[in-house]
Amino acid sequence: MSDKQSITQLRQRAGSFDWGHAAEIGDISGDLAITGVGESAFSGPSGRAAVDMALEAIGNAIADAGLTPADIDGLMYTPHVADQIRVEDFHRHFGTSHEMWVSERGGGMVWAATCTQYAAEALRQRRARHIVNVFSVDWASRRAAGTGTPGDWHAGEAMKAFYELPYGWYPQPVYMATQASRHMYEYGTTQEQLGELAVAFRRHANGHPGAVMRHKTLSLEQYLAKPMLADPLRVEDCCLISDGAAAWVMSAPELARDMPHPVVELAGLGHGIIANAPYISQQGVMSATPQTFAAPWAYAMADMSARDVDVLELYDCFSITALMMIEDLGFCAKGEGGAFVQHNRLHFDRPRSQGGIPCNTHGGLMSHAYVLGIAHVVELVRQLRGEAANQVQDARVGIYGGFTADEAATLILRRV
């Protein structure tokens, strides 16, 4: 294994910014492999409990890794979203009772990337050999039942409740529509260009057997004929609301070589946070994302640049979010994302060798399922193994771009 870079070296390579910063993450390049991936069914309101979907996904991930439940000695989930599984659920479902290393720094969104630093540490310290990260949501069922919405956290936060909600600046589509207005003002980005993302992601969902929108096509003409939801965004620019779960197994690299699939390992990780977090209304530059701070750190750790990346799975809660992250990850100059995404550049069958950068090859949050990024990583692993439904030619390096508005994370994976 190559010499590790110090925090000082990583900090110097990543640079500094005046409206946010990168978390200081030690060099963990090559320190873990993703050896198994699994999913539940994805759907609208299913009536299924989030815990049951999580256990289905975990079972599939363990089988994919060629392991048994007794081999899993680490579990990561988040306590910040309701109804995630606990160790007791794992043992009850699989009939096991062994000791497990447990971390609440797992889950979806940004955590789907940042969980790797804690998993890598646990693997290195031999506190675990095979760690599952899992995330599940039943928000489609909850919305149908009137028992919860994705905006609940924002509505309960004090400054937002006192200074933002009274004006109707809420929920998330309004936040991102506002960001989009600024991007359009500064850079001339157009509705047609936002539509290119919606159309590309929908096409990928149409070719993906697990996607919620697999049977619904969308052309740019159809997109432009849809009504505005919150200017300049249409419903088609927004994520779905879904039920579903996904999970994956992270193993020590020396174990991964003897497991069933081609080895997909961690190459780089970055985590960016805006100043004034969590208040995106106060974000210094609203036409960008905290991927601005995360990406340079991840590239420095991986000793790579955007030129080395074959496939992108970006947290597309909204079309504008994915567009801004494409810029902030360095795939084009800042502000040129609108023109860049045209000409099918994000489609899976236009690889880097043809000037493209395939993006959200399963359909993303907008057309696959809104499971908050956990399925993005599953799709990325399948792309790098060469077994994806919409397979990108010669995909060897890929990025998951995680996002929670005030934070973003860059996870770079590579096939060894």
Partner: protein, 133 residues
């Protein structure tokens, strides 16, 4: 929905809404630095709430046209404005008194006051902004 702004008695929010009832816009300043603190934090700072001038520039906005907000009927225009006299402060507000189709980032605005009536809540007076005359 949890506690809601204009009804609050919280020390870092009540002065803003009490002043609004008198058609004044006040912001919290840190007496030690003389700088506006936005958003204020409950960290023990004894903020000085000073009235500020109401000319502003529109930073970003949306026009909400679909039923996505449980509190407000479409169509309305929430926006983020930067006060010309207080650099670094960005207020969430609404843009009023204009055709929503004419709203543009960068447009000059001026302060005014309106009664807002969110569904299920008491009406309240809020500082809002309109195109500068």
């Amino acid at each position: 929905m949890a506690e809601f702004g204009p009804a609050s008695a919280n020390s870092i929010t009540a002065p803003f809404w009490a002043a609004a009832r008198e058609h004044r816009l006040v912001l919290p300043f840190d007496p030690a630095t003389g700088k506006a603190c936005w958003y204020p934090r409950e960290d023990g700072t004894a903020y000085e709430w000073r009235e500020v001038a109401g000319n502003a520039t529109l930073y970003a906005f949306s026009v909400v046209r679909g039923p996505i907000n449980p509190l407000f009927e479409p169509t309305y225009a929430p926006g983020l404005v930067e006060l010309d006299a207080v650099p670094g402060v960005r207020l969430v507000t609404q843009i009023v008194d204009c055709d929503v189709g004419s709203i543009r980032c960068g447009m000059p605005l001026e302060l005014c006051f309106r009664e807002l009536q969110p569904r299920g809540h008491a009406a309240f007076i809020a500082p809002v902004f309109r195109p500068r005359s």
